[in-house]
Symmetry: C2
Subunit: 412 residues, 2 copies
């Protein structure tokens, strides 16, 4: 198996001043094409540290991917250090200069001073185009090992890697043909899911590999097929999922990178139906999960965040007696909230949340994490009581996932 190392260069990452999201993304992409990351490292902007990690990595790995240190200022020494490492020197690269000039011209500017240096590349490097920024990438081959250098800006790095480098890596290393598919599940924990499908998993063909990718509130199942022929692999993976689907179908909300809010939105759009929200403990976050999706205005009409009881009464029509007799966190109140928002906003569905998100406000009868959710439609109103533990933000997130899932189940 091809071994890779991923290296980030930069003091800001080393000192914890900025979050490094690049290495995770890169190793996940390598994993998808069957390349094993064996080490990740971050070093600072010093020649000594960079040379040392290059030497080490070259001994251990076949492919060394480096991000960062390609900016125009004098702190950025990656290129100079590559030259030292490969015993070569920098020279203006024609294509790099053309691309840089075009990049600046498009923005009505000329390439000047410091930026001109960005068109200089080590003589032994292959130029990798950067459509989204001013620092080109580089590809080096040295004694059978491949080094790749990319800018540290995440969207520039991702663009370059997806469009140019991943195909080039696959070609160079003649990696096996790979097909992978991700099934998204919600409403079931990783271990229970693993138990339910263990027979299926145990009987998967040798060339199919299953990975569980759990997050808070949902679990991704990724099935990767390794082989020689894309078409037959695709069929093999699809067939394998089809086999397990009768067991898991009620938890599956989509495929690939889709989020639950988007999946529910697609179902609503398909049926030409609309939704509105009445939120107490989730405080706007449920609406945000709908509205962060482009085009959500087609089915999400709006919501009421009713933190204060006056808002529950005046904007949602919850009865004062209900609040007095049962409290804001109760089946009776949540029902009136969901029905109220549906009626007032005139949508097919009305969703409501009310509970004690914490850390304060809990009582012996209603401890922190006691949460009611409801879904109202013309067929009536369904309510559920959740008993969550956890921290405030986690309770807010999990409650929103649970009610989105309730709507999903109702729509499917």
């Amino acid at each position: 198996m091809i071994k890779a190392e991923v290296i980030t260069i930069g003091d800001e990452i080393l000192y914890g001043q900025i979050t490094d999201t690049n290495t995770q993304w890169i190793s996940a992409e390598l994993d998808k094409i069957g390349i094993n990351t064996v080490r990740k490292s971050s070093v600072g902007d010093t020649e000594e540290a960079i040379l040392q990690i290059f030497s080490e990595a070259k001994q251990r790995a076949d492919l060394i991917i480096v991000t960062g240190g390609l900016g125009p200022t004098k702190d950025d020494i990656t290129k100079k250090t590559f030259c030292k490492f490969f015993n070569t020197s920098l020279a203006v690269h024609k294509e790099a200069l053309e691309e840089l000039t075009a990049f600046f011209r498009k923005r009505g500017r000329e390439v000047t001073g410091l930026n001109l240096g960005q068109a200089e590349l080590p003589l032994n490097s292959t130029f990798i185009s950067n459509k989204l920024g001013t620092a080109p990438g580089m590809w080096f081959e040295d004694e059978g090992k491949i080094f790749i250098s990319m800018p540290g800006v995440p969207f520039e790095m991702k663009g370059m890697m997806s469009d140019l480098l991943l195909p080039k890596i696959q070609e160079h290393f003649k990696t096996p043909v790979i097909f992978h598919k991700v099934v998204r599940t919600v409403g079931i924990g990783e271990s229970l899911l693993a138990e339910m499908i263990s027979d299926w998993e145990d009987n998967l063909p040798e060339n199919l590999k299953l990975a569980y990718l759990p997050a808070i509130g949902d679990v991704k199942l990724r099935l990767t097929g390794f082989g020689n022929d894309l078409e037959s692999l695709e069929k093999q993976v699809e067939d394998a999922f089809e086999e397990v689907m009768p067991i898991i179908h009620s938890y599956v909300f989509g495929y690939g990178n889709i989020e639950l809010g988007e999946a529910v939105g697609l179902l609503l759009k398909e049926k030409n139906q609309t939704v509105s929200t009445a939120e107490s403990c989730t405080g706007g976050y449920l609406a945000h999960l709908f509205t962060k999706v482009p085009g959500s205005s087609a089915y999400f009409w709006g919501g009421i965040v009713s933190y204060d009881n006056s808002v529950k009464m005046n904007q949602l029509g919850v009865k004062a007696e209900t609040l007095e007799q049962f409290g804001a966190v109760s089946e009776e109140t949540i029902k009136e909230m969901a029905e109220g928002v549906r009626k007032r906003l005139g949508t097919t569905y009305g969703l409501a949340t009310s509970g004690i998100a914490g850390p304060d406000g809990g009582t012996p009868e209603k401890p922190v994490g006691t949460i009611w959710i409801a879904l109202s439609s013309e067929e009536g109103t369904i309510t559920r009581k959740l008993t969550l533990g956890g921290f405030r933000e986690q309770n807010i997130h999990l409650t929103s996932i649970q009610i989105l899932n309730l709507l999903r189940q109702n729509l499917s």
Copy 2:
């Protein structure tokens, strides 16, 4: 200067299946006590890889901090590998067993099989208590170098590090006394801020170090003082900030880890005033920034997410003529939204947002990123037009920050 290396152990991190937030947090904490992280590494759950990184790190650094691989299952081999590295063996540790037993008893369970192994520690280690989980931490001294081993679960690791290990590290390495203070600013970019205060920065005493920690929408200024006496350091740092405050005070919203939504909440609480929100393009996210703060129900009464124009008219009282003549993204509409929500929810302030968050919906006159915000109070209504670029989620976040800042300015 003391040199540290931070090592994470675990295949899930190496393959990009989970996000590593530990190393950033650890190196930031070390930075605060004047310890320099010189390398960060992730390796997989194999003895060979772990032994190799241990040997390397021991040569380069004075302090080696290791997280992960302490779970009860057989994949978790960190402790066994420490034994091999230090040529020692595991034995049940009395205090560890007591703590483990108490942890389980509190949850009504007995310590069994696999978990019992968690009370075994390498003979040369010092036991570090874990109040939040079942895997204790360990402290090793070997040939003048310190190794620390902690569980990978972030909140367990953070608790252990903050409460026990950071003080122990400071004591062991006799690090200089350190005092640091973070000033939080909003509404100004990093480079402009740096320019404004460059004279002040250049004239800071030798023992004070300034760091800019930028995020989307806000910039943190951290001033760290190194010395021998905490009291005089504290005074020195406070005095230095006081000196620059006349230049930056209008951008400062708080100190330390506070978020803007919380800072605005404190101002409202202090004045016994309340707020409500009318959101179009931010779609609930602004309400979420208020309501994620514990205790926010004291000043945040509620909000209307008015995605559909019918909701703008019926729930906020925006006039049909206004929408027809000027459109939803206009000064006229945003004014009626802010006034409407304030009046209907009966709060001191009404905030409103309406704009084109993208990626679709832009026109030549109103491209993506054209956003109106408004603040209504009994003194009248203030409006602002924002011209953002960027992606949908960034536009949503920045708009929310801008309107929170508008309210903050009005409150101060």
